[in-house]
């Protein structure tokens, strides 16, 4: 997966970035195994079974691991962002009220 320069520079969200990247890598591997399954299911059952084994490992262990581990840090980050957004909106509102008041007082 490509480097996520901005996200990866933020140490405080390292967990979230790691698990998001893990999810993408797991799904890329799943896509590759599905393609292998498609190529082999009618002519090479042994390789097709290998693809199925890899699919099970990727879906139920790799993907599931990242989904489980991502839940808390993801929620924490999301809440923090929303509360920051809330703060910014309140500050912006306050500033616009102040500007309006100033204009009103001048008038």
């Amino acid at each position: 997966m490509k480097t996520l320069a901005t996200l990866e520079a933020k140490e405080e969200i390292e967990d979230v970035v790691f698990h998001l990247k893990g999810l993408v890598e797991a799904t890329q591997e799943i896509a590759a195994q599905i393609e292998l399954l498609d190529e082999t299911i009618d002519n090479d059952l042994d390789r097709a079974a290998g693809a199925m084994g890899a699919l099970e490992a990727e879906i139920y262990t790799h993907l599931a691991y990242h989904m489980k581990e991502l839940r808390k840090p993801f929620r924490r980050l999301f809440r923090a962002m929303c509360s920051e957004l809330d703060k910014q909106e309140k500050t912006a509102k306050m500033s616009s009220v102040k500007v309006a008041n100033k204009k009103h007082n001048k008038g």
Partner: protein, 198 residues
């Protein structure tokens, strides 16, 4: 129902054996008359309420003078899948219940693609999938220049451990040497990754 036919090398005639299903029996032909044949079957029946019953059957017989052998069942054969092959493989599990040691030792070999090893193949393929996934993650640590230099150093070992713990649990279900060899691979990877397994 899946039926496996275990043919000792001696009972395998020149022609390729064939298996046919009858109403309440399974028959094999193309065998050498007078030799031993071991049948085993795993029957999985699903009733209308989707509960299942699994029955294992074992039978040792002798090839008739016309080169045929018959495995008679006490109820109609429900063929859900058929797993039989004619390649002689190695014994995946040396303890086939109901067979005396001498018969097992005498036969010595088993067909590779039998139903009983179908479950083993599933377990083995998933275990291999987990080993490959763990090896890929380990490769990332190595590519980063070792655990100290890996930017995700605290995460990778945990991820590898999750994969190898499950792989080890599955590998313990694999028979004999196959299980031991697979576990060996798993422990070697765990050691490389520096993760203790459960």
């Amino acid at each position: 129902m899946s039926i496996g036919l275990l043919i000792s090398a001696a009972s395998w005639a020149q022609s390729k054996p064939a298996i046919t299903f009858e109403d309440s029996a399974v028959a094999a032909s193309g065998l050498t008359p007078g030799k031993s044949v071991v049948w085993f079957g795993v029957e999985l029946r699903v009733d209308a309420e989707y509960s299942t019953s699994r029955t294992e059957r074992y039978h040792v017989g002798t090839v008739a003078s016309d080169g045929t052998a018959r495995f008679t069942l006490n109820q109609p054969v429900a063929v859900l899948g058929f797993a039989a092959g004619y390649g002689i493989g190695t014994v995946a599990n040396n303890t086939i219940p109901g067979l005396s040691d001498s018969i097992q030792a005498g036969l010595g070999k088993i067909l590779d693609s039998i139903f009983l090893s179908g479950a083993t193949k599933t377990t083995l393929n998933v275990t291999n999938g987990l080993i490959a996934a763990a090896a890929r993650e380990l490769g990332k640590i190595t590519a980063a220049g070792g655990p100290e230099k890996d930017p995700s150093g605290k995460h990778h070992p945990k991820e590898i451990k999750a994969m190898l713990d499950r792989a080890a649990r599955l590998a313990k279900r694999l028979p004999g040497k196959l299980g031991a060899q697979t576990l060996e691979k798993i422990y070697a990877l765990a050691e490389q990754a520096g993760v203790p397994l459960q």
